[in-house]
């Protein structure tokens, strides 16, 4: 076992953090253990589930595949940094309202990935949302409420006063045959 220890200054959610950690520890481990930022989750240890996604200089990165030592001086964003004061980020608000977070375990990774998408593409099509999020797995939702949450948040960020149609909240309208 490698006993080398690294001392680093990281910039996480705009705040300076001085951390000491075993040199081989990943960004994921340092965020969760050294920094106590447990919002970022782990799900597979091999960069397949996307649960550990954080933003480094605005780009989604799998923190389980990055050594913390590699991101010294870079801007690291985690789910803990999404809120504006006590107000939720539009993505957080729409996810909460649509039940796009069920167990909520994959949610931080998906939120960060979606945030990066909307930063470079404020008006993504459904296909673009699916493609951007395809690297993150969710076992609860079937993905639809997440896609709708991203579309709704995108509209809010664009300053449009749009809410998803009733079908998104109440289910689809029954065809004639089904009317009792």
């Amino acid at each position: 076992m490698n006993d080398d220890v690294t001392f680093l200054k990281l910039r996480i959610n705009g705040e300076p953090r001085a951390v000491v950690f075993p040199a081989h520890h990943t960004l994921l481990e340092v965020l969760r253990e050294e920094c106590g930022l447990t919002g970022t989750k782990h799900g597979c240890e091999l960069g397949e589930c996307g649960t550990c996604t954080v933003l480094v200089d605005g780009r989604p990165v799998l923190s389980c595949l990055v050594l913390a030592a590699e991101v010294a001086g870079r801007a690291i964003e985690t789910v803990e940094g999404m809120q504006d004061g006590n107000d939720l980020h539009p993505l957080q608000a729409t996810f909460a309202d649509l039940g796009a977070a069920q167990c909520g375990y994959c949610t931080p990774g998906i939120l960060m990935t979606a945030k990066a998408l909307l930063a470079e593409n404020p008006r993504p099509t459904e296909a673009e949302i699916r493609a951007a999020l395809a690297g993150t797995l969710c076992r609860c939702t079937g993905y639809h409420k997440i896609i709708q949450g991203v579309e709704w948040a995108a509209a809010r960020i664009r300053g449009e006063n749009w809410t998803p149609p009733d079908e998104v909240f109440y289910g689809d309208r029954l065809p004639e045959e089904a009317e009792p």
Partner: protein, 857 residues
């Protein structure tokens, strides 16, 4: 969105709901999107240390010895545990207490835990675990159902019905022979459903913290804190009052966190040994070894069909199932019964025979996954019906609509059906998909398939026999106006916290923000049996309803007296208690509580729920009964490439009879999530095993215990879903609500198989459906052979004597006519295991009654 509130229309506030039935933000929504929800692995305590498990590298072997010498030298190692330190067996079911926290003398599958290592850092614990050397004496390995049936020795477990057969059941409801004889045509099919696993995104984790008075608190990712509490009490040998289990929010469960697990017990034992907080978090590989997922099931279905004009009816059905249970019991006895129990609740079935067998194999234990034991026979049944419709030239929707079970009836196997919305479900998906116009008429490579399903709203009986409530809720109210709600239910993502809060808020006319929840804490909350069998909305909801109505009654009395308003005119809404006749006359909810506290003293109420007793009284009647049943129907459209066999779901129409939506947006989430998981099972998911080459020990190992290789659907794989929420309010459910967490998964797999047949004329009688299976079917078709891929035959199994249970229509009383005192029963089973005739059985019963009387005299 803001919590919807609308002015009630007096004088009938009871008819109106301000919260129930409307979409609202789940009560844990904010915590989950801000990353502040505390999952078990997010917990940290001062002086906390880490535990790793040394797991077996061989599938079946005796433990000759364990060498700790190298491991002990690792810097930071604090201690070890072996089976001898925790020898007491445990298991979720009282009838299969076959697990040990750490293996005593024998390992039964690759991944079976043998040693626990504690160290100051996780790295040191890993390193020490690698350096523990276990010396194994290999035993023959049993890899599947047929092998287990054919190989009684060596026995993987030293209990069970015989050899490597864990459980064998045979039950006959009504006169099946007569029913089959009366049929115009008899259809028979053999199906296979491969095993698959839950793959919750959260890996199981447990933190155990020792406390004063030799107490220990166990925080864990468990769906069933109460059952874990019982297992810990048994294995640790300390009184239940000294053990506190707190179920953290689960990062997904799906049934995979319903058993008490080795690592949970080891963490508690190690914490008590070291006197320090102990954490263990499983790796993804270990989660595949915990498993408890879908049983691989081989099925044979024989159904008698009568046809009068376009009217088709089932005269009788015989179902045989064989389950690959893995190395331990888990829920397996219940799973075995569940492969037969719910065949009768969707379509009229006057006579029914079920025979099931569960085998032990050297693989991780199977258990309950979403749908617990019912998706396998449901897949078979719905594909079977599709074949019957095609053969008889009848529209599959009409076939089903013509034979639907009736609401408010009792089935041949004595299940009481309440409300039944299947007709509306079928009409919704058939209408929405244009099934009648398009089925059988789409171009080659495109197809539509229809299937249905039904599921429990909570198991009618608890896992261990007792007369106590299955769910309890306590309310504490005081002058602050805050209502504290205490309940043992476990939030696993399904929204149980939101159901609990919404029911209380609805009854008291307050907002969700006025409620504080305290859940899943065995020290602080009244017992709820846990988040399994789709029981929470109905059972917790009813307990919460009772507790809230009792609180409402006390408040109403006090307000009525203070404001001199007749109690029956008081309305609880908009955080006020007011006069229905004069809405301006009233008190704020807080002032109303103050009035009640002044009048009655400290305020607290409780609510309990016990399901109604089932009419079934025969052995095995405990599995299947439920206060209510949900119903689902689905049409799936697929596209299939005949050149490659590659197929994709194009669109899914799903309708689910949820009774009444507590929160429609969360109900939709459960329906869409079920559709997704069902598609995963039929498209790609499988928990399968392979033998290593001889030079690598030839061991039976998991084919791919990683998220990379265990394929599950991504954003790109999920098709559009049209979701119809059907409401047939059931008097047994709170506000009429039924379950939604599991039922909508059931029709998906068979609907896909039926759609693939519609697309290319190939029957794939197994799950998952891989492209090569479709190609094999097309090749067979090209050579004039049956265009089918699937198991050839069902093994010859001697099921012994069958229980003979007369049906309600036959005037039965819910008991078996040949099941009475054990001595006589064993005496009457012929050596060949051939079944007795009904006459013989009745004769013996009279004899037994006689001898009993003589004994009594």
């Amino acid at each position: 969105m803001a919590e919807p509130l609308r002015k009630p229309e007096p004088p009938e506030p009871a008819r109106d709901t301000h919260l129930i039935g409307k979409p609202f933000r789940r009560v844990d929504g904010r915590a989950k999107v801000t990353g502040t929800t505390k999952f078990a692995d997010d917990l940290a305590f001062a002086r906390m240390v880490y535990v790793r498990l040394v797991r077996s590298t061989v599938p079946h072997a005796l433990i000759r010895g364990i060498d700790f010498s190298e491991a002990a030298k690792v810097d930071g190692v604090l201690g070890f545990l072996t089976g001898k330190d925790v020898p007491e067996p445990f298991g979720i079911l009282p009838v299969s207490q076959d697990e040990h926290a750490l293996c005593l003398d024998k390992v039964r599958f690759v991944g079976d835990p043998v040693v626990a290592v504690a160290a100051v850092t996780e790295d040191a614990a890993y390193e020490a675990a690698w350096k523990v050397k276990v010396d194994y004496e290999p035993l023959a390995t049993i890899s599947g159902i047929e092998e287990a049936l054919a190989t009684p020795e060596p026995r993987i477990q030293d209990y069970g019905d015989h050899g490597n057969v864990h459980k064998q059941v045979s039950m006959t409801f009504g006169d099946v022979e007569k029913g089959l004889a009366a049929a115009d045509e008899i259809f028979e099919d053999v199906f296979f459903y491969e095993g698959n696993t839950h793959l919750p995104m959260e890996q199981h984790a447990t933190v155990a913290v020792p406390e004063d008075f030799e107490r220990v608190t166990v925080y864990s990712s468990t769906q069933t804190p109460h059952y874990l509490h019982r297992a810990l009490t048994k294995v640790l040998g300390i009184s239940a009052s000294r053990i506190r289990v707190v179920a953290c929010s689960n990062g997904g469960g799906f049934g995979g966190k319903s058993d008490p697990f080795n690592h949970e017990i080891v963490a508690a034992k190690m914490a008590l040994k070291l006197g320090r907080p102990v954490k263990i978090t499983l790796t993804r590989e270990e989660v595949f070894y915990c498993h408890r997922g879908r049983h691989p099931v081989l099925m044979q279905m024989t159904t008698g069909i009568k046809k009068d004009g376009d009217r088709v009816s089932i005269t009788a059905q015989r179902l045989r199932t064989a389950l690959d249970g893995g190395a331990y019991g888990s829920y397996g006895v219940a799973s075995t019964y569940y492969t037969g129990a719910l065949q009768t609740v969707t379509y009229k079935m006057p006579a029914y025979e079920f025979q099931g067998v569960r085998t032990f194999t050297n693989k991780p234990p199977c258990g309950p996954k979403r749908g617990h034991g019912t998706p396998q026979p449901r897949f078979g049944f719905e594909v079977h019906l599709d074949k019957i419709a095609v053969k008889l030239g009848i529209d599959p929707a009409d076939l089903r609509l013509g034979m639907l079970a009736e609401p408010d009836t009792v089935t041949a196997n004595w299940l009481r059906i309440g409300t039944m919305g299947l007709k509306r479900c079928i009409e919704a998906v058939v209408g929405g998909s244009g099934f009648r116009e398009r089925w059988g008429k789409l171009p080659e490579g495109r197809g539509l398939g229809l299937a249905c399903g039904s599921y429990l709203c909570g198991a009618g009986l608890p896992i261990y026999w007792n007369h106590m409530p299955q769910s309890g809720v306590q309310l504490k109210l005081d002058r602050s106006g805050c209502v504290a709600v205490f309940c043992g239910e476990a939030e696993i993502g399904q929204g149980s916290d939101s159901v609990l809060a919404a029911v209380v808020a609805e009854v008291l006319g307050i907002s969700l923000g006025d409620i504080r929840l305290c859940v899943a804490d065995t020290d602080l909350t009244p017992v709820d049996l846990g988040s399994y069998s789709s029981r929470v909305t109905l059972m917790v909801g009813n307990a919460a309803l009772q507790a809230a109505e009792r609180a409402r009654e006390m408040i109403a009395q006090a307000v009525s007296q203070q404001l001199e308003i007749p109690q029956n005119r008081l309305v609880f809404a908009e955080r006020r208690v007011f006069d229905a006749a004069d809405p301006d006359k009233g008190l704020s909810f807080q002032d109303a509580v103050i009035a009640a506290e002044a009048r009655f003293g400290t305020l607290g109420t409780t609510g309990s729920y016990i399901p109604p007793r089932s009419p079934g009284r025969y052995r095995g009647a405990g599995v299947g009964p439920s206060p209510a049943y949900s119903y689902s129907a689905s049409v799936v459209e697929v596209e299939v490439d005949p050149a490659t066999g590659l197929w994709n779901p194009v669109h899914v129409w799903i309708a689910h009879d949820v009774g009444k939506c507590i929160n429609p947006v969360l109900v939709m989430g459960q329906v869409e999530g079920s559709v997704y998981m069902g598609l995963g099972e039929v498209m790609m998911e499988e928990q399968v095993f392979r033998r290593l080459p001889r030079h690598l020990s030839g061991a039976l190992v998991h084919k791919f215990p990683s998220v990379l290789e265990y394929k599950s659907p991504t954003f790109e794989d999920m098709p559009p879903v049209t979701t119809y929420l059907i409401e047939e309010p059931d008097p047994q459910g709170p506000f009429g609500a039924k379950e939604v967490g599991q039922g909508p998964l059931l029709p998906i797999m068979p609907a896909v198989a039926n759609a693939i047949h519609d697309a290319v004329g190939v029957r794939v009688d197994q799950v998952p459906i891989h492209p090569h299976m479709i190609l094999k079917g097309l090749q067979a078709k090209a050579q004039g052979a049956p265009a089918r891929f699937g198991p050839k035959a069902f093994p010859e199994i001697d099921f012994g004597e069958t229980l003979l249970v007369p049906t309600p229509d036959e005037g039965g009383d819910g008991t078996a006519i040949n099941d009475y005192r054990e001595k006589l029963r064993s005496g009457m089973r012929s050596s060949a295991g051939t079944m007795m005739t009904r006459e013989e059985a009745l004769q013996k019963k009279r004899l037994a009654a006689l001898t009993t009387d003589l004994k009594g005299a």
